[in-house]
Amino acid sequence: MDFSITEEQSMLADSIARFIDNDYSFDKRMQTAESENAFSAEVWKNCAELGWTAMLFEDADGGFDGGAVEMMLMMEQFGRGLVVEPFLANIVLAGGVLKRAASAEQKARWLSGIVEGSRHAALAFAEPQARYNFANIATTARREGDNWVLDGHKTLVLNGGEADLLVVPARTAGDTTSTDGISLFAIDAATSGVERKAFKTVDAHGAAEISLRNVSVSNDALLGDEGAGYSVLAETIADATLAVCAEAVGIMRTMHDKTVEYAKQRVQFGVPIGSFQALQHRMVDSLMACEQARSMLLRAVMLRDADSADAATAISELKFLIGTSGRKVAQESVQIHGGMGVTWELDIAHYFKRMTAIDILFGDSDFQLDRVAGLN
């Protein structure tokens, strides 16, 4: 049992923290958020130059062999800085499938650009009828000669508007909800029959609604074995869930700290509002929620890095806790900021929206609790 991190890990966290503090101000973030761009190309280039896009890939794939601890440290800082750049979509989701399922040739063609930060990709993991069950896939892929032809509808494809490459799970056998018969395809976003409606989410991340009509791709678009995509998808979604939880822990702590600071500054009735017990106890509740969430995050990260059989459940437990206590911390932070808390001008509102999005991503707290209790 060891909660300490290595010197290299500590340096990684420090370098991102410095970047957030010096080069990623809230104003700068909002310029991107309010622009037509889903993210800042300059910031992404910076992430690549500093090695962050490569961090979570294996040495053989041109990466730095980072594991769950590195991912946690990075995402926590991205949470603190409210970063909109598509690290989750590009690196953890699309990159996560490619690093697990792609052949050496496919990696050279698609993954290396992601590792280097030059290629943008997206994983189309969600469908309208599925809610949070990522095994629920109605999109089909059928063989036609040497090609595969895909038809279906994908929703909330993160980074889907900007991606050059779409990683698409489609059903090649089985019922809509079967975990067998899911195959994974790498598809150039410009392929005929791919229709994208790009938009921004409430928390200013880029995403797209994507329909696939008679999209024909060659056989080398298939990633891994036909029909065996579920486990790759499950591993990737587990990583992504862990990633947004780490981001959430960074956000919760930031919202809590900012709220305590505000309560010390804001004077009403001639005294700082932080002197009121009705508010003090609620801020203590928030602190406890932050600490509990961090404890659960560390546990899930350690189990994940140890390849423990308990890791998947631990991640669901974590996501449940983040969903419930994170919402509480976010709501209390807005409440204690008073009217200012519901203005566009203040960062608190934007942290709040990101927390809301994180609860939904990869299954909300109700969904996760059902998984923990063995009910779904």
């Binding site: 601890v69 003090q280 406890m288 404890s295 350690m302 890095d305 609790l369």
Partner: protein, 400 residues
């Protein structure tokens, strides 16, 4: 960063497990598992077994008989003692007064008191709260007036847990009213319960049992050498003691044990009925408590890890107290829910040593679930109520 135990730690876990399997007296085990309250003699006999093993005072400095264990070893021990459902050391001597004595006491006091504490020769109880001083402890009125080579004690202490078993009591008393802050007039003193003028009266609590008492002092003469540390510093010492107490009362390992028992229980069919775990609402409540408990286990481990690198348990131990007692009480209520109608029969005579468990109305300890629920409402009140804990965190951690 990793969660694994080392080979040495695994071996230690086996050693501790074997000890509880082989050395925990079978008759006490049977009684305790059956929910029968233990007698004074039961406690002492068991504690002497722990002493013989060298495990009576695991947190003490090694020179006084402590174990020198690492935080992980202490964590393993806490899990094993909970999984054996064996009682912890009664805390008042070994966990509460002893740290004050070995930290602030004189050499004579250490030699006089510590061996009898670790060997369970002397039973201690705590004299902090008073009828007029609960959460506002610093308002306490029990007086210790200096008269030559002794103090004369007058006043009343209350909520004295197992005071009717005790030989000695440690008290916060007022030695001076002529101070700038009322906390500065408080001193920490050790009193032999057999001294003339000390009387103990029972308080029957909500579940109908005698666990706590009122202790009255009427012109009780106590030698000045029983004062610990400096006169007027008792509040400071007492606060430190309370921080120790707070880390002890999270009770994570015990709650984990109870959660597992509850899960086993609700997974079984009762008289051919559907197991309660198949009720979606109950299953979700149980899962939710389990998640919070796991998180608290890791919060405690993080605290232990911080202590291991030399940080004292500080105000953040209040977090453990609050969350720990909240979860204990959530489990209490789930046990009552699980018992259903069998939470209602009030038949205390079923819980005496010679009453056969299978003759009881209800299954096993089911009719005790409500009594435990009633009794354990105390958990969020004692040791500084959870609201007081929040005041402490607010002031000392958040700086509000």
């Amino acid at each position: 960063m990793h969660v694994n135990l080392t080979d040495d730690e695994r071996a230690f876990e086996q050693e501790v497990r074997a000890f509880f399997r082989d050395q925990y007296p079978a008759d006490i085990r049977a009684k305790h598992n059956a929910g029968v309250p233990l007698t004074r003699d039961d406690y002492i006999r068991w504690q002497k077994v722990l002493f013989k093993q060298g495990w009576a005072a695991i947190n003490w400095p090694v020179e006084h008989g402590g174990t020198g264990w690492t935080p992980v070893q202490k964590y393993i021990f806490a899990n094993e003692i909970a999984n054996a459902n064996a009682p912890d050391m009664v805390p008042f001597g070994v966990k509460m007064v002893a740290p004050i004595i070995y930290t602030f006491g004189t050499e004579e006091q250490k030699q006089r008191f510590l061996p009898d504490i670790i060997e369970s020769n002397v039973w201690w109880c705590q004299g902090y709260s008073e009828p007029g001083s609960g959460s506002d402890l610093a308002s306490l009125k029990t007086r210790a007036d200096r008269a030559g080579d002794h103090y004369v004690i007058n006043g009343t202490k209350t909520w004295t847990t197992l005071g009717h078993f005790a030989d000695w009591i440690f008290c916060l008393v007022r030695t001076s009213s002529d101070v700038a802050r009322r906390q500065e007039g408080i001193s920490f003193i050790l009193i032999d319960m057999n001294t003339p003028g000390v009387s103990v009266r029972p308080i029957i609590t909500i579940e109908g049992e005698r666990e706590v008492n009122e202790v009255h002092f009427e012109n009780v003469e106590v030698p000045v050498e029983n004062l610990v540390g400096e006169e007027g510093k008792g509040w400071t010492y007492g606060k430190i003691l309370l921080q120790h107490e707070r880390t002890n009362i999270a009770g994570v390992a015990r709650s984990k044990y109870r959660l597992n028992k509850l899960r086993e229980k609700v997974s079984q069919s009762v008289h051919g009925g559907t197991p309660l775990i198949e009720d979606r609402n109950f299953a979700r409540k149980l899962a939710s408590v389990a998640v919070e408990l796991t998180a608290l286990e890791f919060t405690e481990l993080r605290t232990l890890a911080a202590v291991a690198v030399g940080k004292a348990p500080g105000p953040e131990s209040s977090i453990l107290k609050i969350k720990g007692t909240e979860l204990q009480q959530e489990l209490d209520t789930l046990f009552v829910e699980a018992a259903g109608y069998y939470a209602l029969p009030y038949i205390p005579e079923q819980y005496v040593a010679d009453f056969a468990v299978d003759e009881r109305i209800g299954f096993g300890n089911e009719t005790r679930s409500s009594l435990i629920y009633f009794n354990n409402r105390k958990a969020s009140i004692y040791g500084g109520s959870n609201e007081i804990q929040k005041n402490i965190i607010s002031k000392h951690v958040l700086g509000l």
